[in-house]
């Protein structure tokens, strides 16, 4: 397997360092030629993607955790009980690498798409610099094992993506959306930093494993830290009612950036999972016999998250039904999809079952089997959502490229001129709204089932919002693609080949995952769920012992 000159231990750092290096090389390379710069950016992301996939095969098959310490041999000074963790380090487990795969696919496709999509724009050297910087930021967020380092990468992602949202600086809505996004990400990151400072003051550590090992009793400081971290990261993940920036930013950015923003949002969602299951793992994952019949904090927090998830799904689809701006509609639909992901998270926390003996006294407490399934569906849905939403954004971008129209009212009959785009839109439509046999259905059915076990009402709402998603996209399909050719759209041509290739790659992935969902679940999602729930492995990878 070792056909590269790099041993796999070095890959975690290269995944972040190569895009970062490429980002700063881009302004110099773009002095040569625009074409060379575009190919340079694509190939940098290609190399990074290759490294990510290679590392992921190592991690998924062996189910191990790679750590990489910056600037030194080991991260520990002293030994035994007086050991003191220092140094920034990367800690890559299955969950991190799974999200990294999603982020790199999204970034690579977005860059490939921008080759033709952004060809006529000026200032492209900054565009590609920011894209590479944003990729490095997302990768750093997903792979780091150090909380302060996480904050730095969060800010890098936030700054570069806000600048990219406002890339069409001559459009006033784009500038406004960029301003909103930078305010939101600055606030979010500052509150994350406040929480990190509280953690540092309380436990004298910044390392996630050390902190996860220390946080056992859920005292007031821990609760405040959790509140700060959860609400700040949930805002960056776009959970209702803190979602309002999301349609602005997604809808006004160039389509190639919208798909990358999906990756950035999902990275924040990753952080929510990471905080709850790893940092607070000893609080939320352990089941103690003392709390047998009480409702635990985990249950109440889970109920709250389920409530947020239901709100997210409903607000997303209901607002999407009304929109006339195509990209804004897709953005609201993407919001609804985020609801499904945190629904799985909420179910995992909210549900518990108590086992009684014959005399009716409780003897043990456990998380029912369907909570595992809920988490599986949720993680699987993260992958599917990134692909589906990404494909739809790319189709919206293709329509904008061909017609220069954003409003659905000004479209019609595009299927007559844009055959391939129509096919890709249909694939995206069916996948997004959870129609069999595409990938959206495979993950949604797992979520429906587990939601039904928790409460039939939640399941009904989930199915209802899926149906309404279908209705939203049927509206788009009818008003944009069907019908007679509109007079002002007579000369519309199919989009250039690189854009079709970018869309086609995602469409092929969607079909493959749709047809062989078990392949993905067994080989990637199951190890990921195991890694999420097994926080002792995460802890012991750094500080040793059990």
């Amino acid at each position: 397997m070792n056909f590269l000159p790099v041993p796999p231990e070095y890959i975690p750092v290269l995944i972040v360092a190569i895009p970062l290096f490429g980002a700063f090389l881009t302004p110099i390379i773009s002095r040569i030629n625009g074409k060379v710069r575009n190919i340079f950016a694509i190939s940098i992301l290609g190399i990074t993607g290759f490294l990510v996939f290679w590392l992921s095969t190592e991690i998924f098959t062996n189910n191990m955790i790679y750590t990489y310490v910056f600037g030194g041999d080991s991260n520990v000074i002293g030994s035994g009980n007086s050991a003191y963790a220092i140094r920034i380090l990367f800690e890559v487990d299955s969950f991190g690498i799974f999200m990294a795969i999603i982020a790199i696919i999204v970034a690579f496709i977005g860059t490939l798409y921008s080759y033709s999509y952004m060809k006529k724009e000026t200032g492209l050297d900054k565009y590609y610099t920011l894209i590479l910087l944003m990729t490095a930021g997302m990768m750093g967020m997903l792979l780091t094992g150090d909380l302060f380092n996480f904050f730095v990468f969060l800010e890098i992602t936030g700054i570069s993506s806000a600048a990219l949202v406002a890339f069409w600086i001559d459009k006033k809505y784009a500038v406004e959306a960029g301003f909103k996004y930078i305010i939101i990400s600055a606030i979010g990151a500052l509150f994350v930093l406040l929480a990190i400072a509280l953690l540092y003051g309380q436990y004298n550590a910044l390392n996630m494993s050390v902190l996860a090992n220390t946080i056992t009793n859920f005292n007031l400081i821990d609760q405040i830290i959790l509140i700060l971290l959860f609400s700040a990261l949930a805002m960056k993940a776009g959970i209702v009612p803190m979602h309002m920036w999301l349609p602005d930013a997604y809808g006004r950015a160039p389509a190639s950036i919208s798909i990358m923003l999906v990756g950035a949002t999902l990275s924040s969602l990753y952080a929510v999972f990471r905080v709850i299951f790893t940092l607070y793992g000893k609080v939320f994952l352990s089941v103690s016999i003392q709390t047998l019949e009480f409702v635990t904090t985990a249950n109440i927090l889970g109920g709250f998250i389920v409530l947020l998830a239901v709100l997210t799904m409903l607000v997303g689809v209901i607002m999407a039904l009304k929109q006339n701006n195509l990209k804004r509609l897709i953005a609201f639909a993407a919001l609804a999809e985020i609801g499904y992901m945190i629904l799985g998270l909420g179910i995992r926390l909210a549900a518990k079952s108590v086992i009684y003996d014959t005399e009716g006294t409780a003897i043990s407490i456990l998380n029912p089997a369907y909570t595992q399934a809920a988490l599986t569906g949720s993680i699987f849905h993260i992958l599917n959502d990134a692909l589906d939403v990404g494909l739809l954004f790319l189709v919206a971008g293709a329509i904008y490229y061909a017609t220069k129209e954003t409003s659905l009212d000004r479209m019609g009959g595009l299927a007559r001129n844009m055959k391939y785009t129509t096919i890709f839109f249909l694939i995206g439509l069916f996948a997004m709204s959870g129609m069999p046999p595409l990938n959206g259905f495979a993950s949604k059915i797992i979520i429906y089932e587990s939601a039904y076990q928790l409460s039939p009402l939640v399941s009904i709402i989930a199915i209802l919002s899926s149906i309404m998603l279908l209705a939203c996209f049927v509206k788009v399909f009818h008003s944009a693609f069907l019908g007679p050719k509109q007079p002002h759209l007579k000369n519309v041509k199919e989009v250039p080949k690189t854009m079709l290739v970018a869309m086609g790659l995602i469409a092929i992935l969607i079909i493959i995952i749709g047809l062989f969902p078990n392949l993905v679940i067994e080989n990637a999602v199951k190890p990921t769920v195991d890694a999420i729930l097994n926080n002792t492995a995460y802890i012991s990878a750094i500080i040793g012992g059990a």
Binding site: G188, F218, M244, I300, L321, A373, G483, P484, P517
Partner: protein, 119 residues
């Protein structure tokens, strides 16, 4: 060699198998095709019976007959107007409100945490 179980996802009370679904889909397509072929062969598409009838009104140009995006689901949005009024009141597009909601969620979580009172 061909293991059907391999493609299946067990969901708890059942399973989902896309390959099986596609088989079923193809079979249903064939049945539909057969039924369709049972229809009358001598139907002519031209003539008075295939013309558009708009309650006696004259037929518009083809371009104008296209139902625009904002007209679709008009009935739904009209009947759910109360809901959209509420939702529109929240979606002000004002950055201050976005930050306010962040504070509100923090406060709500704090209340939830305080009520639950830790483990």
């Amino acid at each position: 060699m061909f293991d059907l179980e391999f493609f299946r996802i067990n969901t708890g009370s059942g399973y989902w198998d896309p390959i099986l679904w596609i088989f079923a889909f193809i079979i249903i397509l064939v049945i539909v095709y057969v039924i369709r072929n049972l229809g009358k062969k001598d139907f002519k598409k031209s003539g008075e019976k295939s013309k558009v009838f708009l309650s006696g009104n004259p037929e518009y140009d083809k371009e104008q007959m296209h139902i625009k995006g904002s007209n679709l689901y008009w009935g739904f949005t009209e009947s759910m107007k109360w809901l959209y009024d509420i939702l529109n009141r929240f979606h002000t597009g004002n950055v201050s409100d976005y930050v306010l909601w962040f504070v509100v969620v923090m406060a709500a979580l704090f209340i939830v945490m305080t009520i639950s009172g830790g483990i």
